[in-house]
C-alpha cells in the first residue's frame, strides 16, 4: 500500500504544498514592499478549488479500482493546476508598488492557519493508520 499517495494523504500533501508555495509568494511580496513598480503575486485560488474538486472526484474513482496493481492516481487529478497571478492590494503607491503590508500579513496568517489545519488532519490520518495497525487488545 502506498500510503503517501493514498487519496487522503495525497490530497493533504498537495494542499500543504500549495499552502507553502503561497506562503513563499507572500514572503516575496513583503520583501518587495518598498520596491518601485512591484506588483504582488498570489496563487490563483479558483483554479486550486477546481483542482481540489477534480482530486476529490478522482479520489472516489481510486477507491473503486478493481485491481490493486492499477496505477495510483497520485492522490489527485490535475497536478499543478494552480497558477501564480498578480493580485494588487487595495492601494498602489505613486511609485507603482501595489503591496499593502497589512493585507499581506493577514494573508500570511490565513495561510499559516490553513497549513496548521492541514497538518492536524494529516496527523489524525497517521493516528488512524496507527490505530488500525495496532495489535488487538493493546
Amino acid at each position: 500500500m502506498d500510503l503517501a499517495n493514498s487519496p487522503f494523504f495525497g490530497l493533504l500533501r498537495q494542499r500543504l504544498d500549495h499552502l507553502s508555495e503561497r506562503q513563499r509568494l507572500i514572503s516575496e511580496n513583503i520583501a518587495n514592499a518598498s520596491t518601485p513598480g512591484y506588483r504582488p503575486r498570489d496563487l490563483d485560488t479558483t483554479s486550486f478549488d477546481r483542482m481540489l474538486a477534480s482530486a476529490a472526484n478522482s479520489g472516489g474513482v481510486t477507491v473503486a479500482r478493481t485491481n490493486p496493481g492499477h496505477m495510483s492516481s497520485g492522490g489527485g487529478g490535475g497536478g499543478s493546476g494552480v497558477q501564480v497571478v498578480t493580485r494588487d492590494d487595495s492601494e498602489t503607491t505613486i511609485d507603482g508598488n501595489a503591496v499593502v503590508l497589512e493585507e499581506q500579513m493577514a494573508r500570511a496568517a490565513e495561510t499559516r492557519m490553513q497549513f496548521e489545519t492541514g497538518l492536524a488532519l494529516y496527523q489524525k490520518g497517521l493516528d488512524l493508520v496507527r490505530l488500525a495497525s495496532r495489535a488487538p487488545g493493546r
Binding site: S20, A31, S34, A109, L119
Partner: protein, 136 residues
C-alpha cells in the same frame, strides 16, 4: 518544504534591503547640517536607496539594493553672513535633507523590517509543525 526555505530567503533579502534603507536615512539625518567649507563647495547632498526586485539563488523573488542615487533637488538656503561658506549675499547653502521625510522613511523601513521578520517566524513555525509529524 523548499518553498518555505525560499520564503525565508526572500524575507531575509527584504530585511537586508530595509537595513540599507535605514542606514541611508540615518546618513542623511546625520548630515542634515553638513555645509561646505567655503562658498564654492557643495553641502551634503541627500541620497536615496535604489531597491530592485531580483531572483535569488534558490529561485525566490527577493529584493536587492542597487546602490544609492543622489537627490538632485535644490539645496536649502539660509541667511548667515558670518558662516565661512556664505556667498557674497550672505546666504549659506544647506543640504537638501528634510528630517521629517527621513523620519517617515525610517518608520516605514522599521515596519517593513518587522513584517519580514514575522514572515521568517511564520515560516519557521510552519516547518516546526511539519517536523512534529516525525516526533510522534
Amino acid at each position: 518544504m523548499t518553498d518555505i526555505n525560499s520564503a525565508i530567503a526572500a524575507a531575509a533579502s527584504g530585511m537586508r534591503a530595509q537595513t540599507v534603507r535605514m542606514r541611508v536615512a540615518a546618513e542623511n539625518v546625520a548630515n542634515a547640517n553638513s555645509t561646505g567649507a567655503n562658498p564654492n563647495e557643495e553641502p551634503f547632498r541627500r541620497r536615496v536607496p535604489l531597491l530592485e526586485s531580483t531572483t535569488l539563488a534558490n529561485g525566490a523573488q527577493g529584493v536587492e539594493v542597487q546602490g544609492t542615487a543622489y537627490d538632485m533637488s535644490d539645496f536649502r538656503q539660509e541667511y548667515n553672513p558670518t558662516h565661512p561658506a556664505a556667498d557674497s549675499d550672505g546666504y549659506v547653502r544647506l543640504p537638501n535633507v528634510d528630517t521629517l521625510v527621513e523620519m517617515m522613511d525610517m518608520r516605514e523601513a522599521t515596519r517593513a523590517y518587522e513584517a519580514n521578520l514575522n514572515m521568517i517566524e511564520a515560516a519557521r513555525g510552519m516547518t516546526n509543525r511539519a517536523l512534529e509529524l516525525l516526533r510522534r
